[in-house]
Symmetry: C2
Subunit: 228 residues, 2 copies
């Protein structure tokens, strides 16, 4: 059985995001996967990258450099407990699913904080081990999210531009940088503006996709995929 980590960012269990998360846990468990959920709001996950992430002394206390301090702390095993726990979950996972509502063309701040704080140098990347040779290679990631805007708004030539444009920082800039291969995103457009029946179809479609997920090929995570 594969290991799956779902990093989930919604305040309300009854939301469509909550249901999408539940569907994924059920379907993947049924397949024999071991599924772990990081429910960021329920955990009150800390999004701010601060000195508190380093236990004990600093490498250079006269001028605080978060990236350097987190890297050094990782090497000597003195990152804060919440980060060590998240890194352990990532390490054990074959697949990372990020489940969230799109906030401002990106993930909610609480999830961005997970990226900022968990994926530290030494753990997820370490120059020149980035992109195809990133330290998290052999893992997969999938961004599953809901939008406020409609599919038409996020079409090429639409007012909000091709939805792929906004995937670049998340899929290429974060996941690909760490060596993670990216599966096609799963997008539920404007669930707040469709019928209850249509929302149920969205859940069914997600469950259906998960049934054959392990046969999917990753996207070619290069500018061509995003901007052509």
């Amino acid at each position: 059985g594969k290991n799956v980590l779902i990093v989930y960012a919604h305040q309300e269990p009854k939301s469509l995001n909550g249901s999408l998360k539940r569907v994924a846990v059920e379907e993947l468990s049924k397949q024999g996967c071991s599924v772990t959920v990081s429910d960021l709001y329920a955990m009150q996950f800390e999004p701010r990258a601060t000195r508190n992430d380093i236990v004990g002394f600093l490498h250079n206390s006269s001028e605080f450099n978060y990236g350097v301090e987190a890297w050094e702390a990782y090497k000597r095993g003195s990152l804060s407990k919440d980060l060590i726990e998240e890194q352990k979950k990532v390490q054990e996972a074959d697949l990372l699913i990020f489940q969230f509502p799109l906030y401002w063309f990106s993930m909610p701040a609480i999830m961005k904080g997970w990226m900022d704080r968990v994926l530290v140098q030494g753990f997820a990347h370490e120059f020149p081990n980035c992109y195809d040779s990133g330290l998290l290679k052999n893992k997969l990631a999938l961004f599953s999210f809901t939008t406020g805007g409609s599919e038409e708004m996020y079409a090429k030539g639409g007012i909000s531009g091709d939805i792929r444009y906004l995937l670049w920082p998340m899929q290429h800039g974060i996941m690909h940088f760490c060596g993670v291969k990216v599966l096609a995103p799963h997008i539920c457009f404007a669930p707040e503006y469709v019928s209850e029946e249509k929302r149920k179809e969205m859940l069914t479609a997600w469950a259906q996709r998960l049934k054959t997920l392990w046969k999917e090929e990753p996207i070619n995570c290069s500018p061509d995929w995003y901007f052509k």
Copy 2:
């Protein structure tokens, strides 16, 4: 004199970001501008969008929808105090400067939380008042940031792709959506890997640009600018 709000996200006053912020305060004040700084880490600004942002009762307490609740709370004046204060600063500003180190092809989570929580519907946008008719029209924004990667990495065809690709969600998806006109970004590439002298030149160049900032024309914030 014009009003300027600098939203600043760095933990260390001695950092280049700290110096860039200081230079902006000095230069703009010298010009007769009234400058306000939101120093997000010093304020311990809350990045998480939660029920705590709404004072008192909820519009729909059986299923929490952050966007709807924040919108309703805005209309009846019951957003949390920190948000009301930030909105007042935005309302008074002619120019918003965002000063930060690039984290994962985007802004640090603490600043993303400022966007998520401050720019609520009713205040910054309200359909169909978005993009060119967004509620914050007649304001300017400028993203000023430092990178870890070099200018070559962020060139078209470079391993990290054209730096403009990652500006799309921030400049178009957030600022343009709210009607704010966007000035060209100010980017200091890889300050950690250059000489002290070169870093001083970066500060001088920023001060120099600010001298004629009010004569600048906004960019044409459409896909052409980003992806051509």
